[in-house]
Symmetry: C2
Subunit: 284 residues, 2 copies
């Protein structure tokens, strides 16, 4: 039998990522009891019936009082209030992490809210999907997946080691990254593309929603992530707002360059823009 990494694990928000964390830990015998917290009892009940969690509470304090590890896996906009609610009941030496897509200043904010003796390290396993809910959860969701962790100058080395072991044990490849840099990178390669996908679908609707009947694989691939949870992406957009506002402007400029090349029938210039993008995309 493998050594337990954590005796009591609490998952706050039992959806795709939270439930997959539970399955990955339990499936490998890495934890004792998994306690779930969420807003919808029906969901928690189903998670228990499916063996994803062992027990659940509708009160955060009750769900967290025995926890050795707490994983925040709700939409990121809720983290702050959840930490405020649970902080008083956390045991000494409890490790708290999250799986949010935004790090940046939020990491420092959450760290400051932790009581003395409780350790917080931010995580971002890059395993998000346009699918959501416990039925999409899988024990192997993190296999080979990049898991970014964002310790700060105040983080203890032992906590960094613990969180590294956690993700590596679940199959992930851990990368330590500055939280501010994290948000700059993911604004460009993930958050902006989501806003674009949503805006593109709405643009077709502006013209004529019936035209969507003619969408082929190109349109469907380009807008697949517009199927993602609006609540989740609302929070990510707001919390990474400064990067996104700057990127929307820059992207708009690039699209206007194309519009202006079309307007002036500059064939060579257009081909150059497209070739540059293709060459870069081929490296992905």
């Amino acid at each position: 039998m493998r050594e337990l990494l954590f005796k009591n694990v609490t998952i706050i928000g039992v959806g795709l990522i939270g439930a997959s964390c539970a399955l990955a830990l339990k499936g490998r015998g890495l934890c004792g009891t998994v306690h779930g917290y969420g807003r919808k009892e029906a969901n928690l009940k189903q998670a228990k019936e499916l063996g994803i969690i062992d027990e659940y509470s509708l009160e955060i304090t009750k769900a967290c009082e025995d926890a050795d590890l707490v994983i925040l896996s709700t939409p990121v906009g809720l983290f702050r209030n959840i930490v405020l609610e649970m902080r008083d009941v956390l045991k000494n030496d409890t490790l708290v992490t999250d799986v949010g897509s935004v790090k940046g200043p939020l990491v420092n904010e959450l760290e400051e809210l932790m009581p003395e003796g409780v350790h917080y390290i931010g995580s971002h396993p890059i395993a998000g999907s346009d699918r959501s809910g416990i039925l999409t959860a899988r024990a192997d969701l993190f296999d080979g997946v990049r898991c970014i962790i964002t310790p700060t100058s105040r983080s203890e080395e032992s906590s960094v080691r613990q969180i590294t072991t956690l993700w590596e044990s679940c199959g992930g490849k851990v990368e330590i990254m500055d939280p501010i840099l994290h948000d700059e990178i993911y604004a460009a390669v993930s958050h902006l593309p989501h806003l674009i996908a949503y805006a593109l679908v709405n643009t077709v609707d502006d013209i004529n929603a019936e035209y969507l009947n003619y969408a082929g694989s190109g349109f469907k691939d380009t807008t697949r992530i517009a199927l993602s949870s609006p609540e989740l992406w609302r929070d990510i957009s707001l919390l990474n707002g400064n990067n996104l506002i700057a990127l929307i402007e820059r992207f708009g400029n690039n699209l206007n360059v194309i519009a202006s090349l079309i307007r002036n029938a500059e064939a060579a210039g257009l081909e150059h823009e497209f070739s540059k993008a293709r060459t870069l995309r081929e490296k992905c």
Copy 2:
């Protein structure tokens, strides 16, 4: 043995679509000889060796002089000059079609260039791909695929029937559409998404090309069509320029709505924009 639809078929531009037309027709015994024309002899030679075409010429007139059916499958920007070059050698009753992604005014232009007794009907089989070249060609490329044809008020019914039979025999589902409406629809569901994909890749490059190393499946799907042929999309963009310029502006407005909701921290408004897009996208 099935009846021949056309004795001599000429494919102008032997790439993914042109070569697949040849394979679809030959594979079903629907045509006699397939003659290929192109700019690169090495490509034509390979197409002949692979049995995709039976013979080839580097001169358009030579490739077309015996043709009963001519399929234009080069980038759309070349159609006009090709028709000007071949028109004098075409036999009476030859049927000319194309597989271009732009129809609109181009259809009328090409129709007017046809000599007396030669019939032109525009086609657009929706089977394009980010892949290109004869090695990607398949006899079943048109199976179940929507094939739009765009006859005009001057088109003869017998030609419309012939072109309908052509695509249906190759496995396609034929839909007759006004060429102007065609360009409005495909600007929205295909051409604009391509411009967006190219511009998005170039935006990440503006910030830091290294960030592309962090691109996940969301980014990759959203920008897959940035792998498409720059030459092809240069022509499509220019020929459908008016629709695209208007759409870029409309899309830019939608993206700016999102930027402004982020700037003003309007959570409910953001969630509404995203939900609207998700609901529409679910219907695709």
